[in-house]
Symmetry: D2
Subunit: 378 residues, 4 copies
């Protein structure tokens, strides 16, 4: 029997993302041969009772109503932050100062300045970091990246990306923290950051962009059902033109009022020898086209995720079974633990999270100033 | 803090299904407010070292190389059987005799006689049982069933079902236990039982059927790469005509040589007021058609699983995220524990598993005798 | 300028199919380099005024209220029959007796005896015939046939076919000629004959079959809105098991009460090296899977009809434009004229139409007698 | 028998579009009850023999090698121009001067100045015009427009449009007239004008735009197979941000190097009460989502074109049969003849063609100057 080193996790937050992270650790421990024996040590939440309830429900040994308790805890090597992004900076910097590796939900911080500060602190301390862009952990995105990297679809020429949902489409959805400009923005910062991450993952760094934003729902009820309204200052929809370092050009849209769309995290990558298309609404599939298929027999192939697309096989023995959203978090956990253990750094780490945050800010500046902006100029 | 009663689980087997069950318990504990505090007590496997390794990997406290050790274990109230189906009868009967509730993978047993014996033993002992037809646990199948039960698509007239995969399509796949007639049959028994379960779940009991079977790959290598071959005596493909108790008629196909198909567990149900279509390859979706939609605006709706389709919301906060294959097992675990706790019996229990096994046998008899057979006549 | 021989057409009937045939001739003349200069000479309908109106609308030079006028007309070499199928025999035999080539809508005749009589008469007279199974004229069906014939998907093992629509799904649709048993049957005879034709076209002759039929809507209003009803004696749904001469097995369903289905003329052909799938609802596409695609990159390709799929290019210069239903008739016209001119006989001719009619009858006998029947035994 | 007034057509050009127009007239005459008896009088082409051959093939009575012959021809009331767009202005102005109604292929002219000159000439002469944006004639686009106009999907908020094909994706495709800047531009002018027309048709006038263009294939062989290359000065891909008069915002892409795409003329329109999605690759379908469908049953409906979507029923009696690309031209012909006869003017006429051309030019200016431009400022 292998006797692995134990690694202790302190989780901050137990909302949707806190629960997802807890599931991620629980599942990763069972499906992967991780480099560590994971100890779900402590769960911190805003009050001691809430933390206690969550710890029991999510399988943590101990709990606390004060996240700072995690900092000095010798049983904890990883601090996992799933709180609102306005709190990320303070928590991450404290965790780093305490010598903990940090796993943090996206977006990394409301401002790129914060994000880069966090990044530099972690780098200076030699600690590992991970940002929760879990869509990148999809085996089919791995396949897409590999096909592109291997030149299987040739030179990349154009990219089209979307992240559209409809959770804000009803004008009666009241004003809430998501709409607070201090959070770093609206649809682009919140969900557009996902497709920026995907664009970067597949096509590489963006060097120049032009953006346009709009807020069709200009005011919302101050609370559910209220007649009084409050002006919305952030974007409902954002559109970007992109120029990539590798010469490709593209576009991207973030939209949280796209009525009927549930998870339209879609991309299309066109190369000189083929193309790749994808929608997150069917994320166990990838569409691929090759120009070197025989004449008369060319067409987009619908490839279902299977054991040949690592690490799908850790979850299911055969194609067609499908992994779920929470499984993507388990892969993210695995990748982070591998990095912590000194293995391959698959990221995205804080530096990449900060890069994305810089792009978000740059896009807002471009929209405001109605002009193209360069990533060099910032 | 609620203090729930503890329930101990003894798992037999740690292959694909054993791992899936272990994940099912781990996830169910985290996403649901279960009636019990689940204790993953003991994992049994064929050898003590194998069991120990699996116990550590899958989060069980103890392990054993002898499944009979579970029988007298006072910390165990549930015995979970994930071994090949030729072993189910002995293990289940012993578990029942020991007063344990039994959770057993499908198919329940190679013969319906065995399956009914197991069923009667459990009923006599007043113990709860569960058979692992986990596709039935899909929230979208729940939606389909509810629509049918509520008359939303009217009187059910015709049904079409398929379970097709291609894992046996390559004639070089060698002879193996799946092909042993003592296992109860070929494609129909193995994977066709899934679609029989779905047909029964949605449309109700079958009262008469006619079957045809074929074995296009009549012989296979005795082992991987061998030139010597062994005759295949079980079906590669089976087709059934069905008559249901409620007057509907239908058909069904089981096929494990359907090249290119990964999980074509598909059904189409046509009613007087609408229709429902589904494919397991995209199991977070359901297609529904209503005749009372406005003229010119009728069409199949693609409905994505969401929080309004219980218990999807326990896994993901919003539509479009998608649950995975392993999550279906977590729902199955939840349903079983609810039944054990005296709550609603959502099944399928051993009686339903035995009914399905009876249909499988009846179908083979029909194919052999080339005639219609009735479930009453058996 | 080429000076082609003129060929005169006499069309009987100007309903949906009459109009479609007229369009077929008009379009074929413009898109193909036909072997003849087509002269739309005379249109015959039940009354002289109706015929005159239709002739003007559809571009025929002359008209008549008596189809027998066509028989002696020296300007007519082809008689095109688009009347109800109970009239086909008399008209076709008269046309043949008059030395005319005959183009006849499907189904060829209500009974196979009639169909074979018509076939033999034409053969004896050395005249060309064509039956209007125009779905076979789809370039994508040609591609499917070619892939099968060339062994591209290997040995054909299993077939699944459907022809389902919903035009009879509403129980208020009144009793009408379609339901008259003298017409040769219900859903199977009417629309199932299409999928029988497709099965034969792709997989080859059927040698044995077993059928089941059902009539969920047992009675219908005697007329629109009437409360008085009349019993329905023909099938709303028919299901067949098939054994083909080449060793493949399959199944097939005809269903005209499949709520929501508009043209589910679908097939799936599974071979040892690949598979082909198709739906008539998207008939400019073919799905093809090859096992010799690279591991991890296998999937059904969606191939759009294009100029490389003869004769699509005669209609549109590029893939993605799409041909329509009426264009299939233009291809049928072309093929018939090529045969008349002594070129390749692409069929289906009367012999093939009669074969299909024989299968329909055999299926009804099988359903009635609840047993397998062989095509040899008839 | 109705005795309709005769209307004579003079067609210039017999390439792909000439043939399509000829088919359009031939089919329209047969499927519609047109206001005129169409006389395909004269076909003009670059040489007399070519014109004679085409006239015979396409069913025109006479032919000429000089298009100016049409101008004085008293039998001609409509001049139909299907030549390259650099010739449109001269021909259209001459036709208008001769008092003929003009039907002209898109794009209307290489420059908006030309297009407006043509428009004003026709308006001054009181003649009817039609531009061949035939995708707008699709019954499903009519349905989309009606749903939007009737408020069925609420206030329109965002639009996304694409017209992508891959006929220029291979870098070996040689330099040709399409790439000549004097033709008015590249992908945007050629195929992007289609999606601009669709955007305008559905959402209304554009008042402001920002564009970006790129030419990944910077040089092409001077001729097929040549090693010598010539620089490409026009766009392979163009992207636009759009602001509509009604307050909606949107984006659009034109791309003729989108490997694998055959006719991705796609749009998505999001409103406050629903959404509409479409792809020209399946143009007999429309996807529609309504927020007022019941909770748990919301999803995009796939609506197939049917007789309830005028004028589909003129071509096919039932849904699922499908009209083809050439049928769209027949609808365009019908609409034009109705306008000529003094009926409803469904357009698009020259004014609308000129508006689209203005947008194309504006987009190129925006891309060149890297700034937003307004339609008012031009």
């Amino acid at each position: 029997m292998t006797s692995k080193q134990k690694i202790g996790v302190g989780l901050i937050g137990s909302g949707f993302m806190g629960k997802t992270h807890a599931l991620g650790f629980a599942t990763a421990s069972r499906v992967f041969d991780l480099p560590y024996d994971v100890d779900l040590a402590v769960l911190a939440d805003v009050t001691a009772p809430a933390a206690a309830r969550a710890a029991q429900a999510l399988g943590f040994r101990r709990s606390t109503g004060d996240w700072r308790d995690l900092l000095d805890d010798p049983e904890i090597q990883i601090i996992d932050i799933t709180t609102p992004n306005t709190l990320h900076r303070e928590m991450a910097l404290a965790a780093i100062a305490a010598g903990k590796h940090v796993y943090c939900e996206k977006p990394l911080a409301p401002t790129s300045a914060d994000a880069w500060e966090m990044t530099k602190a972690a780098e200076a301390a030699g600690l590992m970091t991970q940002v929760g862009f879990n869509y990148l952990k999809n085996p089919m995105l791995g396949l897409a990246k590999r096909l592109i990297a291997d030149g299987e679809i040739g030179e990349i020429r154009t990219f089209r990306g979307i992240h559209a949902e409809d959770f804000m489409a009803d004008a009666r959805v009241p004003w809430a923290w998501r709409l607070d400009p201090s959070g770093g923005g609206g649809a682009l910062a919140d969900i557009g950051s996902h497709i920026l991450a995907t664009a970067r993952y597949l096509v590489g760094p963006v060097i120049e962009l032009m953006a346009d934003i709009a807020t069709p729902i200009a005011a919302r009820p101050v609370s559910q059902g209220a007649t009084e309204t409050r002006a919305v200052e952030v974007d409902d929809v954002a559109r970007l033109f992109l120029r990539f370092e590798n010469g490709a050009t593209g576009s991207l849209e973030a939209n949280w009022i796209a009525t009927g769309r549930k998870m339209q995290h879609d991309f299309e990558v066109y190369g000189s020898k083929g193309a790749i298309v994808f929608t997150q609404e069917r994320f166990n599939e990838l569409g691929v086209y090759f120009t070197d298929d025989k004449t008369g027999l060319r067409g987009f192939r619908t490839i279902f995720a299977g054991p040949e697309h690592e690490p799908y096989g850790a979850f299911c023995v055969a194609s067609g079974h499908q992994i779920g959203f929470n499984d993507l978090k388990a892969i993210e956990v695995r990748d982070f633990l591998v990095a912590v253990a000194g293995g391959e750094k698959l990221g995205p780490d804080f530096a990449e999270g900060a890069e994305i945050q810089s792009l978000v800010e740059l896009a807002y500046r471009s929209a405001r100033e109605k002009r193209w902006v360069s990533t060099k100029s910032t």
